[in-house]
């Protein structure tokens, strides 16, 4: 294992941090993610603006929400605001003015807005990209329902469809993402005029919270693998469960996939079904295999056809490279590469599957 990460001393870290905080170098994007309006996203974000300003940073606010609660008004009064520009049919952030002013950090409350026609970009998130490109650190906020790819899921929960969205690729491109979590009661208190059954609403909000937390976890996971990769670290952290189901033409795949799906769903785990290619399959086995792979595909598993001389080595090598935490296998089959499985191969597999759990299925 490589050990090429130099430990930083507090002084080095402080210098790094100060350079970063001063906005030196390239622009940087940080996103505050909320699951519903009223969780205090604007306040959390603008409170960060206030603290940065108190530490002497050059901070401006480039966009404010149309309606803001009183605590946000009081924070805003201590900050420099570059107001939205009026462009005929609507408003948009004043990109030119912000770039001219060139603050170290610019706060954008609300990222999901379409711009009126005729401007440099059709949407606000593209404006933000331009600010970042100009070397400004941007800190913005968004609610989960405004993410394009999640729109259907959110609609299924809330029954409402939002018109203006941001693509998930933009969210994932952020250098940092921070979730603003709060129990559902708080947003409930903010909208007393709504006469919906409280319990149902609470459950809806819980589902939105879940979506937001999972999105944040996925972005974090993506950043973690990127970090490890850049440093040449091959070992995975077991923070996300990853299930690998190894199938053969004659395995009792139905039961394996069924429980794998349940476990994957409950753990929000990644599910992969793998088959190690065997030479000279009979037509019957070919057909059986095809059917099993289709079954795996139907439940949304990732399919991997592996090639290698030794099935155990091939599977383990693949499992390690993908950070598998749970390996599902069958035993006692009469033919194929997994014949006499119990005996040498399964035994070998268990002996060498360090760091992962092996689930042996009856056949």
């Amino acid at each position: 294992m490589t050990r090429d990460i130099r430990r930083r001393t507090p002084d080095e870290l402080l210098r790094e941090v100060q350079a970063e905080e001063a906005g030196a170098g390239k622009g940087h994007l940080k996103i505050f993610l909320g699951y519903a309006s009223g969780v205090g996203k604007s306040f959390r974000m603008l409170d960060e603006a206030r603290r940065r300003r108190e530490r002497g940073q050059d901070v401006v606010v480039g966009a404010v929400q149309p309606k803001v609660p009183p605590e946000v008004v009081s924070v805003l009064s201590k900050l420099e605001v570059i107001p939205l520009g009026n462009y005929g049919e609507g408003t948009a952030i004043d990109v030119e003015a912000i770039i001219r002013r060139h603050p170290a950090v610019c706060f954008i409350d609300g990222l999901a807005y379409d711009n009126p026609p005729g401007l440099r970009n059709p949407t606000r998130w593209q404006d933000v990209q331009d600010l970042v490109k100009a070397g400004i650190k941007v800190i913005g906020s968004i609610n989960i329902q405004y993410i394009d790819e999640l729109r259907e899921q959110v609609e299924a929960i809330t029954g409402k469809r939002v018109a203006q969205t941001v693509p998930i690729s933009f969210i994932k491109s952020a250098d940092e993402i921070e979730i603003v979590d709060a129990p559902p009661e708080q947003p409930l208190e903010r909208s007393p005029e709504e006469q919906v059954d409280a319990e149902r609403r609470e459950q809806r909000l819980s589902k939105l919270r879940e979506l937001a937390l999972l999105l944040a976890a996925d972005v974090v996971e993506y950043q973690l693998s990127d970090y490890l990769e850049r440093r040449g670290i091959k070992q995975h952290f077991g923070t996300q469960e990853r299930i690998l189901v190894c199938i053969t033409p004659r395995a009792n795949v139905g039961e394996m996939i069924e429980i794998a799906c349940t476990v994957a769903e409950r753990f929000h785990a990644e599910l992969i079904v793998a088959y190690v290619k065997q030479a000279n399959l009979s037509p019957a086995d070919e057909a059986a295999l095809e059917e099993k792979l289709e079954m795996a595909q139907a439940v949304g598993a990732g399919i991997q056809i592996l090639e290698g001389e030794d099935p155990v080595d091939t599977i383990l090598e693949f499992a390690k490279s993908r950070g598998i935490t749970q390996l599902f296998i069958g035993h006692t089959q009469r033919s194929g590469a997994w014949s006499n499985l119990w005996g040498a191969p399964v035994d070998k597999l268990i002996r060498r599957s360090r760091g992962m759990d092996v689930r042996v299925f009856p056949q």
């Binding site: 921070e178 979590d181 879940e210 999972l214 077991g238 069924e258 760091g355 689930r359």
Partner: protein
Amino acid sequence: MGYASGVGKTYKMLEEAQALKSQEVDIVIGYFEPHGRKDTIAKMEGLEIVPRQKIQYRGSVFEEMDTDAILARRPQVCAVDEFAHTNVPGSTRAKRWEDIEILRDSGIHVLTTMNIQHLESLNDEVWQITGVRVRETIPDWVVQGADEVVIIDLTPRALLHRLARGVVYDREKVERALQNFFRESTLVALRELALRETVHELEHRVVHDVTGPVEERTQSERRQHKILALATADPRTAMLIRRARRMSDFLGAECFAVAVHPSGDLSDLPESDREAVERHLNFARNMRIETRILEGEDIARAVVDFARRNQITQIFLARPCERFRVPLFSRDLMHRIVSLAKDMQIVIVSEREPVEK
């Protein structure tokens, strides 16, 4: 719930305490650990504190939360820092979470703070990520008993900023902190763990589906899973039990832990083995797992017979050790259980090894 010291859990808790107080809720602070953090201390202003009790231990005086005084004061809400804290020996209860259970039993609402690394069933994962064995843990059922779990998030970058500015610890502690928990990759991984666990805690609390007609459940979801873990003197039994507990929680399955001995009790085992088995069974009971000691000369047969009588669907075993000479005994045992329990799934559990960074 947070993922490290300094993410702002206590600050957030006190903010909520202040908000409740402004709504004229009768709230007191039961225990508060300032750690010299100015912003946090400022948030205490105007809140009533129940004085701590002093406890003598080995010639020194320690301060702990005074549960009896809080019970006598009877507030509506009590804020208590550091859920996972272990009380000094000589306290009425060993753990702070036990004190908090007492407060809740008497009808007092409690706000408290913890980090993800203190959750018992994640102990091995946390060890893998940090290389540190966390000793102060809270059984999962205690956390599941909370009415709400809220994650206090902060990006690792921002946390490192705070650390470097000396907001979290003083200078000497910073140096040490940077070497284990506070490496960026460690923080990122712990944060992901906290986010995923919070999702699980949420799902645990959402009972009904609100999106309309209940989705068609698969057969496997309807089927009742039952899990059995084999407890032995092997030190990896603790890991095995944690894993079995976690799988049971996620599958909504019942969970058992059994030990097998020819005489049906442990009295004629060598002292050290008996202590180890008893410790493991006790650990399982603390995790709310039902335990049994089975009588039998043939361990594999006793386990499988018990499993069959109790409709167990999954048997959890520790992976046989692979050092120097392979202990034939444990491999044989695994083989025999697999071949006897043809109708069950056998899960061979491995140790998670710390990631080298």
